[in-house]
């Protein structure tokens, strides 16, 4: 053992305190008592480092338990009678915890959650999905970026104009949050997609184009080709086979997409 006499306690870390470092302090907010109980039982069964500090049966109670317990991780139902999970988050001055949304199968909010690269669980909670979500929580080194993503999701829900809404991506060590109105088009590069921005910058992300199509199709974007998703806001003209973007770029139109493209363009 090296070190000065009396310094031993500084070197050895008691096992008990290491466990505390790994502990995940959670709260569960859901109006359905079955879901609260199921999630709580599954968490206790899966992971003895998870500590459930409190449960809440609606949004208002949820705000109270968050303020009172200062959790690391909040499981929050998207749809509650008194407010949505997003509204709940928007009422907090500061979000310094991670969030996993709980939602129903095929709920419209899944799109909004995926939009910001956030986590969600579909009711009734599947044990493997929960395990994966906890692993993602643990592997997320940059908690500040995750807090930004939550903030962006909340802002998106509160923003009526789709152009002002933002997508969130974890790129390298940082986070990118382009506004939809600033994305000119998105192109497919194998398993990656490249976002071409009006500023001339590009963002490469490991998501396929189909993912983007799914979350952006009702926000002014159109898949005109298997490799391209274009933003209507930045089209300056078109011929029978190409779309001229406001930038100098020309985007091909797939033959089978021509009619749908013209219809989409007319929709205004």
């Amino acid at each position: 053992m090296f070190g000065l006499p009396g310094s031993k306690s500084k070197i050895e870390i008691p096992l008990g305190s290491m466990k505390v470092m790994n502990q995940i302090k959670c709260v569960i907010i859901d109006d359905d008592r079955f879901v609260r109980r199921l999630l709580s039982d599954r968490l206790m069964m899966l992971d003895d480092e998870v500590e459930i500090l409190a449960e809440a049966k609606d949004g208002l109670e949820g705000i109270q338990v968050i303020l009172e317990h200062n959790p690391d991780l909040v499981f929050v139902d998207v749809e509650m009678p008194d407010m949505t999970g997003f509204e709940l988050l928007s009422r907090l001055d500061q979000i310094d915890f991670q969030v996993i949304f709980i939602t129903s199968y095929k709920h419209y909010a899944i799109k909004a959650i995926r939009f910001n690269a956030l986590d969600y669980l579909v009711k009734p909670i599947d044990v493997d999905e929960l395990k994966d979500a906890l692993n993602r929580y643990r592997n997320r080194i940059d908690h500040a970026s995750h807090h930004q993503a939550i903030q962006a999701a909340v802002e998106n829900v509160l923003t009526a104009d789709p152009g002002e809404q933002r997508l969130t991506f974890y790129v390298g060590q940082g986070v990118e949050r382009p506004k939809l109105k600033d994305i000119c088009y998105i192109s497919a590069e194998g398993n990656y997609s490249t976002l071409s921005l009006t500023s001339g910058n590009r963002i490469i992300v490991s998501r396929n184009l189909g993912d983007f199509e799914e979350i952006l199709e009702d926000k002014g974007f159109f898949r005109c080709h298997r490799s391209y998703l274009i933003n209507k806001r930045h089209i300056s003209g078109h011929s029978a086979s190409e779309i001229q973007m406001v930038s100098v770029d020309k985007i091909p139109i797939a033959r089978r997409k021509k009619t749908a493209f013209l219809r989409w363009l007319e929709e205004g």
Binding site: D31, D32, E79, P81
Partner: protein, 110 residues
């Protein structure tokens, strides 16, 4: 109804199993009562909310027919004709009633 997921969850603990089944029975009873009331007043949003609320348990206990019926109601509740909504809701009430009966039979000794 399938109790496999419940059995895996409670791992032979009868008290916990009983608590889940009591909760299910109470929630099914409430669903039946609330649906009957809501369809009487053709309160479409309330019907959607009741169905939305019970869905996780229908899925957890693999009540497939009830689940399909619930999903169908959530799909059409807003715009479908009243008669169609009535038929769907009546159908769901029957499934719910039958599930309650199954739980009671399981709890009846012998």
């Amino acid at each position: 109804m399938d109790f496999t997921k419940l059995d895996q969850l409670v791992g032979g603990n009868d008290d916990r199993r009983g608590a889940y089944l009591t909760m299910l029975n109470e929630d099914l009873t409430a669903t039946e009562e609330n649906l009957s009331e809501a369809i009487k007043h053709v309160d479409r949003e309330r019907i959607r909310s009741i169905v939305h609320r019970i869905r996780p348990q229908l899925a957890f206990y693999s009540m497939q027919e009830a689940l399909q019926c619930a999903d169908n109601i959530q799909l059409v509740y807003e715009n479908c004709e009243q008669a169609m909504l009535q038929t769907r809701v009546d159908q769901l009430i029957l499934y719910v009633r039958s599930a309650r009966q199954q739980i009671e039979n399981r709890n009846t000794p012998g």
